[in-house]
Amino acid sequence: LGQDLTALGLNLNSPDNLYPTFGGPWAEHPCRPQDIDFHVPPEYLVN
């Protein structure tokens, strides 16, 4: 009978696109805000 596609960790009712926070084919959760790269000025990369 196939899978319950609503239980794969994707918010299928989201009004926004899913791809910008897609965690990948094995991820049970979308990426969190802090997982998403943001192009900050290179001098901010002090780590």
């Binding site: 959760h29 943001f38 900050v40 001098e43």
Partner: protein, 148 residues
Amino acid sequence: PLGAVPLQKEHQQQFQMMESAYYHMPHPSDSERTRTYLPRNPIHTPPYYIQQPLPHSDTLEFYQRLATETLFFVFYYMEGTKAQYLAAKALKKQSWRFHTKYMMWFQRHEEPKIINEEYEQGTYIYFDYEKWGQRKKEGFTFEYKYLE
């Protein structure tokens, strides 16, 4: 009515390779820039915190309401994220400047007493990784999601 079809030899070889790869699955951080303090493996926010990001939490106004220390923490610990970018903007709104040579934030004092070609007199804020590293060893953890 199609029924099962036996795997051909070529597919059996492919399956063998796939099966061995199955035991070395990619790790989430394999696809992300190296982030020392923000690994991709989820740190579950304890139930007593709000589980969803606060409304408008990725706007400058939200960051302007955060304490200065929090802004520094976000800047140094959430490197390469939108949070760092907004924290930097909020700090600049509070007349802090980022010194690209020393990789530090500093705030001019009203009447600068000593000004030499090295640097202006003022309050310099930097992140002492060694000290923090020290505290981290004491088992100190923090929630990435909420820094309040």
